[in-house]
Each structure stands twice: as C-alpha cells, then as structure tokens.
C-alpha cells in the first residue's frame, strides 16, 4: 500500500508557483490565476487557460491545460492540481565538487468552494536531498480556509507561506532562504488582504507550526505588512515590514520590491531587504543584514525566456567577510502547458574566499498538473 501511495504521489502532485513576470502583462496580482491571493498553489480555471494561451510555446490539444493534462475537468466548486519538481544541481570550487539530483516537491492539491469559502489543502511527502529530515514522510505543505468576504477582500486562516516581498518561487533563491522564506517555511497564519484598483494591502500574523517536531520548532512568530502599488498595467512597486521573534532572536525586516515591464518583452524584478536581529538573551547584541535579488529577463518567444540574475547577501553588515555576491544567467522554458524546464548558472563569490568562487548550475524539471 505504501508503495502504491508513493507511486501515486510521484505521478500526481501539487503546489504551483507564481510567474511574477506576468505582472508586466497586466496581471498586477496573483488572483486571476491562483486561488491563493498571494500566488502559488492551485490554479483557477482562468489560470489554466492562461498557461496554454499566453505562456506555453505549443498548445498540444484542446483541454490539455485541464488538471492532470486533461484527465480531469474542474467543476465550479472543485479544483484539483498537483506539482512535481525535480532538480539536478552541480556546484564546484577549487576544493569541492558536488553533484546532486533529487525530487524537491511532490504533492497533490485540492480546493473546494462552499458559498464564499474555499477549503484548500495539499497532501504529499517530504522531499529534498538525502540529508533532509523526515524525507519520505507525509507532509501537508498547505491547508487553509479562504473566505472571500467581498469581491476585493480575502481572509485566510490556516497553514501557508506568509507573504513577504515578491512571491517568486523561492526554492532556488538563497537570499529568500536566509530571511526564512525558503522551502517548507509554511506556518499557521491569519491573513487579511484587501485589493484596490491602485494596489493592495496585506497583513498577516503567524502563530507557528502546531505540528512541527519539537526539535525543529524555533517558535517563529511574524507580523507582516505588505503594501503594493500597481503601475499602469505593467508594473508594481511594494514595501514590506516584518516584526518577528523566535526562540533565539527578535527581528525587523524592511523590504522594497518592484516588478516592471521595461518593454513589451523585457521585465525587471527587484527585491531588497534589510534585517535587524537582536538576541533575546542580550539586547545589546544586534546584527544588521542586507539581502537582495534582482532579475532582468527577456522573453525571446512564447514560452522561452532568458534572464540575468544577481543575488547578494551580507548577513552581518559590520563584517565585510560575510558578503556574498552571486551573478548568474538562466533560461526558462515552458514548451507545453504545465511543463517547465529551468536552467541557471551562478558564479557565487564569498568575500572570505575571493579567489575561490563557486560555480553553481542547476536544472529544474517541473510539472504543475
């Protein structure tokens, strides 16, 4: 039975990412395509059509964009989805050479709507490299109730990733990981989002992860404010504030972000976050950090985008040796609906070992059913 479930989950899976660059096509927020107000996860019917009509190189056949490549058709109240993401990573410098291949994510997702309330949940298993804790165990990344209190207001309660800054797929961005918004950073939260013609306001409070193993639970509690102004249909500019604490520190994070269409096929994504962390045991000891990620992309053809990326982090601004600079180039291909291939190379240099940069490359194969 276990084997059967495993095989099933390997074939069918959940959680979809947001393609933030669609902001430049008039999609100022994620709600057109995703049931989650902040993007990611299960798609709306409109989102499914868009993946075929706007994002993929080839259409295959009518209905292919439906769940599980046309095997299922969403109803008015029930939406299904799934996600499987695998990665092949290669990293090397003068001393070390690492090559890994593993499943990053594999789960199923459903959304069931009763009147104005969506019940959303994923079932899957913990994935990751061999060293991942509890690899292979049952994992529900998200489960929440989303109440559409009006056409432009959403109230959400349950387990999901708190919204902070630009909601890109964070799995490969180390600067988001450093801020605590990487893979498996979902917590139990209460969230209110209000949308206007000019922008959006989003406030959320996390109350931790009720089912986290005691050894892993750092008792993170974050209060997050996001304010975003929509541009003229091809851009958005935002600020974010996080007031948080865990069992070791309290912290504040101030962020600014922008997504802008520079021309019909060129876009720019930028996020810069400043963090001040204070140790709970000694209020005299504080650390200031700065994290940023910037991307310049060019859509060469439908379903084919090339980009430059630049990530930088300094987790202690008083210590120059903590500086990491990581420029890179990448290609994102969406050949057919709900199939994505991403290749990226980064040259990551650590200030402490300037003459020994790390060459990192990865290839992600992603099915979002």
């Amino acid at each position: 039975m276990k084997t059967l479930i495993t095989i099933f989950l390997l074939v069918l899976s959940a959680n979809t990412l947001s393609y933030v660059e669609n902001v430049t096509k008039g999609y100022a927020n994620c709600m057109s395509c995703h049931i989650s107000p902040n993007g990611g996860g299960i798609l709306t019917d409109y989102g499914r059509v868009l993946s075929s009509a706007m994002m993929s190189t080839w259409k295959v056949r009518p209905g292919f964009e439906n769940p599980y490549y046309g095997l299922f058709k969403n109803t008015q109240s029930l939406k299904l989805g799934g996600q499987l993401r695998t990665i092949q990573v290669h990293a090397e410098n003068n001393q070390v050479k690492i090559a890994k291949k593993f499943v990053m994510q594999n789960n199923l997702e459903f959304a069931y709507k009763i009147k104005n309330v969506n019940i959303v949940g994923t079932i899957g298993r913990q994935e990751g490299p061999k060293t991942t804790k509890r690899k292979g165990e049952f994992l529900s990344e998200r489960h929440y109730l989303l109440w559409e209190t009006s056409e432009d207001t959403r109230v959400r309660i349950g387990k999901f990733k708190q919204h902070f800054g630009i909601n890109t797929p964070d799995h490969t961005r180390f600067v988001k990981q450093s801020l605590g918004f990487g893979s498996n950073s979902e917590t139990y939260n209460f969230e209110v989002s209000k949308y206007y013609d000019w922008g959006e306001i989003n406030i959320s409070q996390s109350v931790g992860d009720f089912f986290a193993h005691k050894a892993d639970d750092l008792q993170k509690r974050n209060l997050v404010f996001n304010f975003t102004h929509y541009g003229n249909g091809s851009s958005r500019f935002g600020t974010s504030l996080l007031l948080g604490r865990d069992s070791l520190n309290k912290r504040r994070v101030y962020g600014v972000n922008a997504v802008s269409g520079l021309s019909k096929n060129t876009y720019f994504l930028s996020e810069l976050n400043y963090e001040r962390k204070i140790e709970l045991n000694s209020s005299d000891i504080s650390t200031d950090a700065l994290f940023g990620v910037h991307t310049l992309g060019y859509k060469a053809f439908k379903g084919g985008t090339g980009y430059f990326v630049f990530e930088h982090s300094q987790n202690d601004l008083s210590k120059n040796e903590s500086l990491i600079l990581s420029p890179g180039v990448g290609v994102q291909l969406l050949p057919i609906p709900h199939v994505e291939v991403q290749l990226e190379y980064q040259r990551r240099s650590y200030q402490v070992a300037k003459n020994n940069p790390e060459h990192r490359s990865f290839m992600i194969f992603h099915l979002y059913h």
């Binding site: 008039g26 927020n29 994620c30 019917d45 249909g233």
Partner: protein, 176 residues
C-alpha cells in the same frame, strides 16, 4: 433645412479625401475583476478624413476593430467574436461634425459621435491638438460605457471586465 443640407454637402466634399496618417496608436484599457487585472490593448487608425475649416475640426476617424491586439490571441478572438461582433460591425468610427478648436490653446473639449457595435452615441472628451503647418498632432483620452453601445460585459472563466473602458488615441495626421 436646405441650409443644413447644403452645409452637410460642403462638409462631405471637404473631407471626401482620406488624410495621410503618419503615425497612430489607439489604446484601450479595461479592468477585470476580481483580480484588478488590467487588460491593455492596441490598434491603429484606419481610414481618416479630417479637415480644419475655420476654427472647426471636421471629418471622421475609423478604427479597424479586427486589428485590436491585447497580447493574447484567445482573448482577442473572444472579444471580437462574442462582444464586439466584428464580423457584423468591423469598424468603430468617430465623427467630428462640429468640433470647435480654441484659439491659442492646444487643449480642446470636443464633441463627437462615436459609432461602435452599430450604435451611435455623442461623446465629449478633452483632446490635445497641435497643428504645425499641415500636420495635426492629436492626443485624446476618454471612457466609454459598454452598455451605451449594447456591448455585453465580457466575462471569461471567473474574470469579469468592468463596465467602463478607457480609450487613448494618439496620432499624427497630414491634412490636405
């Protein structure tokens, strides 16, 4: 009555020849809810017949609705087939029968008749007009209510477009 007919005849004679459109852009923007999705589209001016007589701008401007492009083929087809019904009504025409131009000012409030989807309706809008020798540079912005032109509110897979659509016309036209 005879006078009016004679005036109309003179106007028609005056604007019988098409003006040369040097450059033009017709933009439209509609908002889709619930996601405040901005649908931006573009087109170009078609046959344009404009003339300045005294302080009046007279003539007509056509837009070929089949040329409208919002960046997504499926959306364009949906808009043209189901809402604008371009097979039946392929053009939108703006008639300027007596648009007074203010002396010494480039900003003018114009009154015109817009024919869209088989319905004619008088609209008023602010237009920036500059005339340099025979070249007319114009920028106009106005909004229309879809129901005024008997166009159904477009809706697709849970996204419904707002009742008001913003239009922006910029053009450089060589007058006769």
């Amino acid at each position: 009555m005879k006078k009016i007919l004679l005036m109309l005849l003179i106007i028609n004679i005056n604007v019988a020849n098409a003006s040369k459109v040097i450059s033009s852009k017709v933009k439209f923007q509609a908002t889709g809810k619930p996601a405040f999705l901005k649908i931006n589209g573009e087109g170009k001016l078609g046959v344009t017949k404009l003339k300045i007589v005294g302080n009046k701008l007279i003539g007509s401007i056509e837009v070929d609705l089949n040329e409208l492009d919002s960046g997504i083929e499926l959306r364009d087809n949906h808009l043209k087939e189901n809402y604008l019904e371009t097979k039946k009504y392929p053009k939108a025409i703006l008639y300027l029968d007596h648009a007074d131009l203010l002396k010494g000012s480039s900003e003018n409030t114009l009154e015109a008749v817009l024919e869209l989807h088989g319905v004619k309706k008088t609209i008023e809008f602010i237009s920036t007009i500059k005339i340099n020798e025979k070249v007319l540079t114009v920028e106009s912005e106005f909004s229309i209510k879809l129901s005024d032109f008997k166009i159904a509110i477009p809706s697709f897979q849970g996204i419904t477009v707002s009742k008001i659509v913003k239009l922006n016309i910029t053009a450089k036209i060589e007058l006769d």
